[in-house]
Symmetry: C2
Subunit: 234 residues, 2 copies
Amino acid sequence: MTQYKGQHHILVAIDCIIFGFDGKDINLLLIKRAFEPEKNKWSLMGGFLQPNETLDEAANRVLKQLTGLEGVYMEQLQVFSEIGRDPMERTVSVAYFALIDLHQYEKQISEEYHAEWFLLSKKPRLIFDHDDMVRLAQKQLRYKAALHPILFQLLPEKFTIPQLQNLYECVYDTLFDNRNFTRKVMSTGLIVKLNGKDKSGSRKGAYYYRLDKRTYKVKEDAFLNFVPKADKFI
Amino acid sequence: MTQYKGQHHILVAIDCIIFGFDGKDINLLLIKRAFEPEKNKWSLMGGFLQPNETLDEAANRVLKQLTGLEGVYMEQLQVFSEIGRDPMERTVSVAYFALIDLHQYEKQISEEYHAEWFLLSKKPRLIFDHDDMVRLAQKQLRYKAALHPILFQLLPEKFTIPQLQNLYECVYDTLFDNRNFTRKVMSTGLIVKLNGKDKSGSRKGAYYYRLDKRTYKVKEDAFLNFVPKADKFI
DNA sequence: CCAAAAGTGTTTATACTACACCCATGA
DNA sequence: TCATGGGTGTAGTATAAACACTTTTGG
C-alpha cells in the first residue's frame, strides 16, 4: 500500500496533568523542561506519540517515566490544536489527566526530570498552552467527581472519612456538612470500615476505611451525589 | 527557529458523527467514501487537518462541506489512535459529534458526496473504526443529554412537547410518563409557548414552543433531570 | 359520535437539607 | 480536665414518581 498523497504530516504530542493529594491540598506535578524552546521553564510532563504506540500507551509511558507508577487512573481530556501553540513547529497535543496518591510517588525516579509538586493554588506559569490544559483538567475533575467516585483514586488504600471529606472540600473549595456527607458516602456501599484508626489527625482517632472494589466497579459509572448543588461549582 | 529533530510526523484526521432527528427517529449522516482504501464503502464524513486551521475549524469545515450548515452544535469526542486503524498509513483521528435538525439539511450540497441519512438502528457497517466512533458518540449523547439540554439542537425552532418527549424516548429507547415529563420541562423555564399549533400529529393539535435562548445560555451547563433514573441508560 | 393524541392534578415516597450534642483521647 | 476533632440522629422540606381522566377535533 502507498500513502495518502499531498497531505500534511504533523507532530502529535501528549501532555499529562497529574493531580495528587497530600492529605491537605490538591497538588500538581510539574517538570522543568529539558530542551528548547522554553528550556528550564515549568511545564507539564509530556512527549511525542511514537509510531508503535497508541495515545493511551504514550500517556502511560510518560506517566511511568515520571512517577514510576502503572495502572493509574487516567483519562483523555482534549486535544489542543491552536496553530502557534508550540512556536517551534505545528504540534497538536492530546491532554490527559491522571489522579494519583502522591505518597506512592517515587522521588528518585523523577529527579532526572527536576519534577516538583506544586499546590494547585500556587503553581507557576507554565509554557505554551499548559495553563489552559490545567484549567480545563481542573474543571473536568470537578465535573466528573460530582457524578462519579473518582476522587478515591487520590487517596491511599486506607483512608478516613474526614480525609475523604477534606478532599472533596479541596476540590470544590467549600465546606460540606459532615453528617450529610458521611451518610451519603456510607449509603453507596462503596467503602468498608476497617479495624484500625488513624491517630495522626486527632486524639480520638478516625476509623480507617477502604474501597469495596466490587461495588466500585459497579458504581463507577452510576450517578452519585456526594456534592450538594454540584452544578454551582462547575 | 528550527524543528524538533528525529520525531515522527503523522497524519491527523477528523471524523464527524452527525446526528439528526426526523421527528420520529435518530438518524446518522453517512457518505460513500470517494477514494482508496475502502472506496465506495460507507463512512463518516471526515478530512485531514490542514496547516492553517485548528481541529475545531477543521470539523466545522467538514460539516459545512457536507450539510451547508454553520454554527451547529458540535463537540470533540475523543481521539482514535490504534496503530492499524487506517491501513494506508498511520493516522490518528479526532472524532467530533454534531447535532442538527435534519430538515435544515441541504440535499443538493451533499449529493456530491453521495451522502445519506440512516436510521441509527439500521446503519450499515462502516470503514475502519468508525463503528466504534458511532457507538461512543451515542453513549456520549445519552450521557450528556441526561444532564444538559442539548437535544433541543436536534429540533426545529418551533417544536411541540410531544415531539420533544418522543426525541428523549428515542435517545433512551424507553417511554416516559408524559405528565412528569411536561412538568419537568416546563419547570426549567427553557421553553416558551407560542400561539400556533402543530396539527400534523393529531386532530387536536399540539402547541408549538420555542427555546428561550436567554435561559438556555444560563442553564446549558446546569444539571437538569429530564431523564428519570438516567444512569440506568448510560 | 368516535378515534386518537394532547393536556392537566393529586397523592405518596424518596431524597436532601439543616441543625447540635456527646464521645474518645492525649497532653 | 480540657481542648480537639470524630462520630451520630431527627425533623422539615423539596423533589420525583406513580397514577387516570377530560379535552379537542377531523373524519
